[in-house]
């Protein structure tokens, strides 16, 4: 994902802003990292350049 995506995304649960943490970057592209809700503290992963903003219960279901 590009950092410009931060302008419009939010926590899917409470719609508050997200804080970005970058682990790996390739040019402008954020490859691995996480997005943390500034309100509820929920952490959403960025994997393979794609943020996973499924509600936590559905994310866990999908990973199961």
């Amino acid at each position: 994902m590009k950092e410009s995506l931060m302008d419009i995304i939010c926590c899917p649960m409470d719609k508050h802003d997200l804080d970005l943490e970058v682990e790996t970057k390739d040019d402008e592209e954020i490859i691995e990292g996480s997005l943390t809700c500034s309100e509820c503290g929920e952490v959403y992963p960025i994997e393979d350049g794609i943020p996973n903003l499924l509600p936590p219960d559905m994310r866990d279901e999908a990973a199961a």
């Binding site: 995506l5 995304i9 499924l54």
Partner: protein
């Protein structure tokens, strides 16, 4: 099986590309009607291969296009199919859209909306993320009047919502969207074999196939955020 798993397996089998090819026949007409301006931000719900956003970048010069899909495999494939910096993909669910209030100019969705667990709530979410005057272009092939589509539910574990035209209009209004247009867009491109060829693997009669594609096709309902 969860929706993610179901559609991840579709993506792994390459069905995303197959859908792109088939849906394009009618999707392109819906996209051509959208009042998008150069620089607009457009979200595609249930983006599949992401082709709608690629098309809007080319034809309308949208500023940014974001494709949301519940299946990580779909989003990964879609990201692979483009190297356009202005197009991005994310994993998310129709019931809990991860976009800020009034952050999006237009929302598009093809053959995906009826998978929403709580479709009225999804419409409310769409209304929330659109800026005033933004539109929701909702295109579906699975709907009440399109009788051949009814049996699709038998082949998929996820519950699908089968509204008729009036129910779509009513649901949009219930969620607070103005209804600006409703139309059925015929698929004039799919080849329909001569009568002798029927029954085929997929069709009992030629009349049923004509009904499905030429008479009904894709139901488009357009909502506007007040």
């Amino acid at each position: 099986m969860s929706a993610s798993e179901e559609f991840d397996s579709w993506a792994a089998e390459g069905r995303d590309k197959g859908m792109e090819d088939r849906h394009w026949h009618t999707t392109k007409h819906a996209l051509a009607r959208m009042p998008v301006e150069a620089g607009d931000t457009v979200v595609d719900l249930g983006t599949g291969s992401g082709y709608a956003l690629r098309a809007l970048r080319e034809t309308a010069g949208i500023g940014r296009g974001y494709g949301l899909d519940g299946a990580p495999e779909m989003a990964r494939n879609a990201a692979d199919y483009t190297d356009d910096d202005a197009v991005g993909f994310l994993v998310g669910d129709f019931d809990a859209l991860p976009f800020a209030d009034e952050s999006v100019d237009h929302v598009f969705s093809m053959e995906a909306f009826y998978y929403a667990r709580d479709p009225i709530h999804t419409l409310e979410e769409i209304k929330r993320i659109l800026r005033p005057g933004g539109t929701f272009y909702c295109a579906v092939n699975y709907y009440e009047e399109n009788e051949a589509s009814h049996e699709w539910q038998d082949n998929i574990a996820i519950e699908m919502t089968r509204w008729n035209r009036r129910e779509y209009r009513e649901a949009f209004r219930e969620a607070g969207l103005h209804v600006a247009e409703q139309d059925t867009i015929a698929d004039r491109e799919i080849e329909i074999p001569p009568a002798e060829a029927f029954p085929t693997d997929d069709w009992e009669t030629r009349a049923a196939m004509v009904d499905r594609y030429r008479t009904w096709g894709t139901l488009l309902t357009v909502g506007v955020k007040p």
